[in-house]
């Protein structure tokens, strides 16, 4: 089994006129690669009617609903994260409740609020109560503010993870931009922080470094917006690791941290 823990889809109220083709392309590539499950989120309107990383409550509700419908359309392939904006706490909490009731299996936090901000605590408390992991968008080593997002790095996410030791956090896309070496140092001693391997970055040494930093038990395979690089990393790991270790990264760890029955 192969689980992509970091997938995205589009819908009709985004700025992508080719949203159907992009969704179809992900699913088709997934078939070639052998992806059993796309665990996906939709970040509101992807910037069409509110900013991608600061999505409005209205856009998030619509996006989460579209993802739920997609997962119903592809019951054996797509699972969903509930995407929320912690600045709208009440809405975030109700979306998480509603999402969990309708079969969503995780919470997605993008970059609407710094990861160590207290506003994230009620969101994480809800995730803990419902047994959902939290996928958090990360800028690997944020040296400054970046436009368009209130990005967080691994140090900031780890502060949140310390406050919520019974929640499993997925640190997004170590290949997704920024200095992953900084991240690998930061996460070593935080057992409830998992690394997803997604992102367009395919730096030589990155995968070996990730294994050395957290072991195969805290790595999760994913692709994000470049399935080609995801597949490349999977192929590289196939040569690097024993089959049992690879199986943990491909699906075993995901099965362990997502709700029971999420992938059956």
């Amino acid at each position: 089994m192969l689980v992509d823990v970091h997938a995205h889809f589009y819908h009709d109220r985004t700025s992508r006129s080719d949203w159907r083709e992009r969704n179809a392309s992900r699913l088709a590539a997934g078939e070639t690669i052998g992806i059993s499950w796309h665990v996906a989120s939709i970040l509101g309107s992807w910037g069409f009617s509110s900013p991608t990383y600061f999505p409005s409550a209205t856009d998030l509700s619509y996006a989460n609903e579209q993802l739920r419908l997609l997962s119903l359309e592809h019951p054996g392939r797509i699972r969903g994260y509930v995407a929320v904006n912690p600045n709208v706490t009440g809405h975030a909490l109700s979306e998480i409740e509603r999402g969990a009731e309708s079969g969503m299996i995780g919470v997605k936090l993008a970059a609407s609020r710094r990861a160590d901000d207290p506003l994230l605590d009620p969101v994480c408390a809800a995730a803990e109560r419902l047994g959902l992991p939290v996928l958090h968008h990360i800028w690997q080593h944020r040296r400054r503010e970046w436009p368009g997002q209130e990005a967080s790095d691994a140090v900031e996410l780890c502060r949140l993870a310390v406050r919520h030791p019974r929640v499993d956090f997925i640190l997004a896309h170590i290949g997704g931009g920024g200095d992953w070496l900084h991240t690998l140092r930061a996460v070593r001693t935080h057992p409830n922080v998992y690394l997803d391997l997604s992102g367009s970055g395919v730096d030589g040494g990155m995968l070996e470094g990730a294994i050395a930093a957290v072991g195969v038990e805290r790595l999760l395979w994913g692709a994000d917006v470049t399935l080609c690089t995801g597949w490349a990393k999977l192929r590289y790991l196939e040569r690097l690791l024993p089959a049992a270790d690879l199986a943990l990264i491909a699906s075993g760890n995901a099965v362990r941290i997502f709700p029971p029955g999420a992938f059956s």
Partner: protein, 261 residues
């Protein structure tokens, strides 16, 4: 399968595994790459990058699977001698990365190199970048190659043949559609930085520009060589197009051009 974007040697900004010729050969075998166009990575950052060419020629000569890409610095005295040596010693191409050399990318030195390489019938290789700009060392501030420079190089000499590595879709389109068809027919792009699905940038570029413009390139060992192979496998490519990209176009480029100006 010919990988036109391969390096030997250490990288100044972080530890990279597998940089020896032996390790590169093992990685090539793993992916099914038969031939590599190799550059000496440390010398890209040296004051005189041509000082690495001697070792590169000797190392490449030890295996028929390696083809040397010799480094040039057209801002140094007598750089023309380095170009002549590259031709004499059978280099498959020469390279200059103006950002790392501290040269204006479309300035007089680079334009003179473009003309001289064109006259010698040897392709000129240049990288847009070596690493994602968001993850570079704080002191690694060399500017990326701009598309305008490649357009200027193509306009400099009608014989010039340019290979650009590590370019993304936007860069490629800006040069291709910002050039005459004749100019655009003299630049080749490796696929190391062009995204596959779901955005399908590579599929789009192949549809709009044709397979003749693209080369298999990885950027290994700075980047894992499995990437371009996976990228191509995710395409529904006609066998002839695939052959062009992975082998044929690079083979054509490696033939010394003798077309008069």
């Amino acid at each position: 399968m010919i990988d036109v974007n391969v390096f030997f040697g250490s990288y100044p900004w972080r530890r990279v595994p597998g940089t020896s010729p032996e390790a590169v050969l093992a990685a090539m075998d793993r992916v099914g790459i038969t031939t590599a166009w190799v550059s000496h990575l440390p010398s890209l950052f040296w004051k005189d990058p041509a000082e690495g060419n001697g070792w590169l020629y000797e190392t490449a000569a030890k295996s028929p699977r390696f083809k040397a890409v010799a480094a040039m610095h057209p801002g140094l005295p007598h750089w023309e001698d380095d170009l002549r040596e590259a031709v004499d010693r059978g280099a498959v191409a020469v390279r200059a990365d103006p950002g790392f050399l501290g040269l204006a990318p479309a300035g007089g030195e680079m334009l003179r190199l473009v003309s001289a390489a064109a006259a010698a019938g040897i392709p000129l290789v240049s990288a847009v970048r070596l690493e994602d700009g968001r993850g570079r060392h704080p002191l690694d501030a060399a500017p990326e190659l701009p598309p305008s420079a490649v357009r200027a190089w193509l306009r400099q000499d009608a014989r010039a043949r340019i290979v650009v590595t590590h370019a993304d879709r936007g860069f490629i389109e800006e040069v291709h559609f910002g050039s005459t068809p004749a100019e655009a027919s003299r630049v080749w792009w490796d696929v190391s930085w062009v995204w596959g699905p779901p955005d399908d940038h590579l599929e789009l570029l192949l549809a709009t520009m044709g397979a003749t413009r693209f080369l298999f390139g990885s950027g290994q060992p700075l980047r894992i060589p499995e990437t371009p192979a996976a990228r191509l496998e995710l395409l529904d490519l006609a066998p002839a197009d695939r052959e062009s990209i992975v082998t044929g176009n690079a083979q054509q480029l490696s033939i010394r051009s003798t077309t008069p100006a």
